[in-house]
Assembly symmetry: C2
Homo-oligomer: 431 residues x 2
């Protein structure tokens, strides 16, 4: 008798199989018992009639939620089930039956309670399909670059230098010195790109921000790429291809999960089918004013403005060429208009906000030192970064993607803490 | 004229191409100029005769090391070259020529100097092939699990709990509370395995150890997996399959790099061809005594003992079933002999030391609480971890792999700081 997972069951129609999992839910008509069994790959319904096996019926009718089980039965086609089949139960061995009720109920509970029980909450409801979509999105991100000959690398987490000032950095004692938790691997990836050509990574980044919005956590996995010999236009084209690739591949590999989440897959496909919108920052300000927003040239866009732009275009929108004052020191200024940087943010549709920030990087020592100085930053800790402009500098570009926001967009989850296995927020370090 | 990378050149024999890269080295006979051009994917030799193009010859004869270039020429087959071809140079555009000498020389320099210039050192010598092997090893690790239906996940880096005591933890202020940098994602991956079945990740781990050996850094990427419904024997089989898969795939995908590193690929293949050795801890002590080591039952093995075991078998060796006193609280004791844990370390051959530590995990609340107490640890911060044994506990196992050591073994590099893009050591936080 083969031991299979729920996700494999549809390939075993008519066969007797063994499944290992947990009781997700149970209901009984008195005559027929329905056991929902989950194993991490999906949920299957096991069915047993009272007259088929009275002893097993009596035993299984007592299983409490999250009882761990090894069950045996025959897989039967069932077009009504989202996985296309159910299990005619023939036997069930209990591995462990909880002696108290499972605290996560199959109805609404407060976010605080759920977050306190994240380790148990993650077994229920949309949590499993969301975390499976997360896996597929991470995989697609890496596969995209792997197929294109990029080299995966890692930036250090512990650094002596800060990328964008020190106000939102976590600081720690490093054998008597100060170290900071990295906010971005970008500067290091630039160095690595000069050695390896084109590089990418997904790694943790930290922001000691006191923000409590639904788009902020203190620890998140940032996905970044840096490319030697890439200019601003090539950078945007690559980002657009990447976003389209991720959405398309997640839809392909996680169809049942998106269905379970009630997502409109066709809408997602429509959103990435056409070329993304590209808008000069100044034109974006004008458009937002026309749409009734109170914004002026030089303002950062907030969530309402980003949502408006997404709604207006119904697809991702690049906002390009920001005023230099709005952006960090490492971005290259437009030679045709030195008041602007050759940078772009990519705004997701449906109000999911900025999912990518990128730019061509400054590539001469003179510009870099001058822009560090303008930003009020010392040059000494950046000496290694300046070196990249002293020895064989090339035009180069890169970007950082907030994968959690991309996953929220794909899954339709409104708070990004639900797309992270164990999210960290200002008041949240447990479990 | 197609723009190609060095690694693609052998597919363009006879064609006129464009290449973008850096001058790695230059030599001239006065009549013929040889330019070694690197682009991160490999190194190609560009050749130019003085009589072919006197102007270009005079210009190119002045290129300094690390000059960034766009070169044009015809790819010519050359069996002597490791990449199988060279470039007949027709034109070269200088993007940036350094005004000072590149500090990394193509001869031996002190480790301290090289580490201070890690951002430049990584462009030279064996650094590029080693980092490309690293990419392939990370990819193979993930691909192994992806193909088997495991779900990729992430453990948090910031934690309020420590896994193995607090003496080697980096501590930081988290909005007024204490937080620690994770030493392992294991406990969190156990929770996730109860939701998703079988999970894995590669993520950073931190040890505030004052060790200065060639096998220790303070920050490293640990590769971990946790599996519900896996016992000790299944755990070992999976680890063995994984190590064989990684070595085999890296050899397949990075043949030119291993050749450049002078590695004996056939020896590597031999080392993983046969079933790995499996040795009871007690038998390992006896064997080491026979091999002349001064060790007693209950001792941890150090580098010399691990090297001896590797030499003796000429392949990876599992040391199994350690005395409980030697191992952490979360390991399951052998029901047949409660003085031993169902754990194993995997020792690499050639002196590369322990590359995997794993065990079946304790799976009853009673055992876990008792083992926490024996270890002198409080139960309260582990309440969520205890919960995993209260709600549908199952036999489960997992392991952590030191990928840097695996890469050192595959590449033949003796100090693991060379297989990490930007290593962190007790006295090393720059660049």
């Amino acid at each position: 008798m083969p031991t299979i997972t729920v996700s494999e069951a549809h390939r075993h129609i008519g066969q007797r199989v063994t499944l290992k999992g947990w009781l997700y839910n149970r209901r009984s008509s008195g005559k027929i018992l329905f056991l929902q069994i989950r194993d991490g790959s999906g949920v299957i319904q096991a069915v047993l009639g009272a007259s088929d096996n009275p002893d097993l019926f009596a035993k299984a009718d007592q299983f409490s939620r999250e009882t761990s089980l090894v069950v045996h039965g025959v897989v039967k086609e069932d077009a009504r089930a989202s996985i296309g089949c159910e299990l005619l139960l023939e036997d069930a061995d209990v591995i462990h039956q909880p002696s108290v009720d499972f605290p996560i109920e199959l109805k609404e509970q407060t976010p605080g309670f759920l977050m306190d029980h994240r380790h148990l909450w993650m077994r229920t409801g949309r949590q499993v399909p969301v975390l499976r979509v997360r896996d597929a999105a991470f995989y697609a991100f890496r596969q995209f670059f792997h197929e294109r000959g990029f080299v995966a690398t890692e930036a250090p987490i512990l650094t002596g230098t800060s990328v964008e000032g020190t106000t939102t950095l976590f600081e720690l004692d490093y054998f008597g010195d100060s170290a900071y938790l990295s906010q971005s691997g970008q500067l290091y990836l630039e160095a690595t790109a000069m050695a390896l050509g084109r590089v990418y990574w997904i790694g943790p980044a930290f922001r000691a921000e006191k923000s409590k919005t639904r788009k902020h956590v203190t620890e998140f996995w940032i996905a970044e790429a840096e490319m030697a010999f890439y200019d601003h236009a090539m950078n945007l084209d690559l980002q657009e291809d990447l976003v389209r690739y991720i959405v398309t591949h997640v839809i392909e590999e996680r169809g049942p999960e998106l269905k379970e989440l009630g997502q409109d897959v066709e809408q997602l496909q429509r959103e990435v089918a056409e070329p993304f919108a590209r808008l000069d920052y100044g034109d974006a300000v004008t458009l937002l004013q026309e749409l009734g927003h109170d914004v002026s040239f030089g303002d950062d866009f907030g969530a309402p403005q980003e949502a408006s732009l997404g709604d207006h275009f119904g697809k991702p929108v690049f906002i390009e060429r920001f005023p230099v004052e709005m952006k960090p020191f490492y971005m290259k200024r437009d030679p045709a208009d030195p008041t602007r940087v050759m940078a772009a943010d990519l705004i997701a549709p449906e109000g999911y906000g900025e999912i990518i920030g990128g730019s061509q990087r400054v590539d001469t020592e003179e510009e870099l030192v001058s822009q560090l100085t303008e930003a009020g930053l010392p040059t000494e800790p950046y000496q290694w970064y300046i070196d990249l402009r002293r020895f064989g500098s090339v035009p180069h570009s890169g970007f950082g993607m907030g994968l959690a926001r991309v996953i929220a967009w794909i899954t339709g989850v409104s708070h990004i803490r639900e797309v992270i296995p164990f999210p960290r927020q200002i008041n949240r370090l447990y479990p």
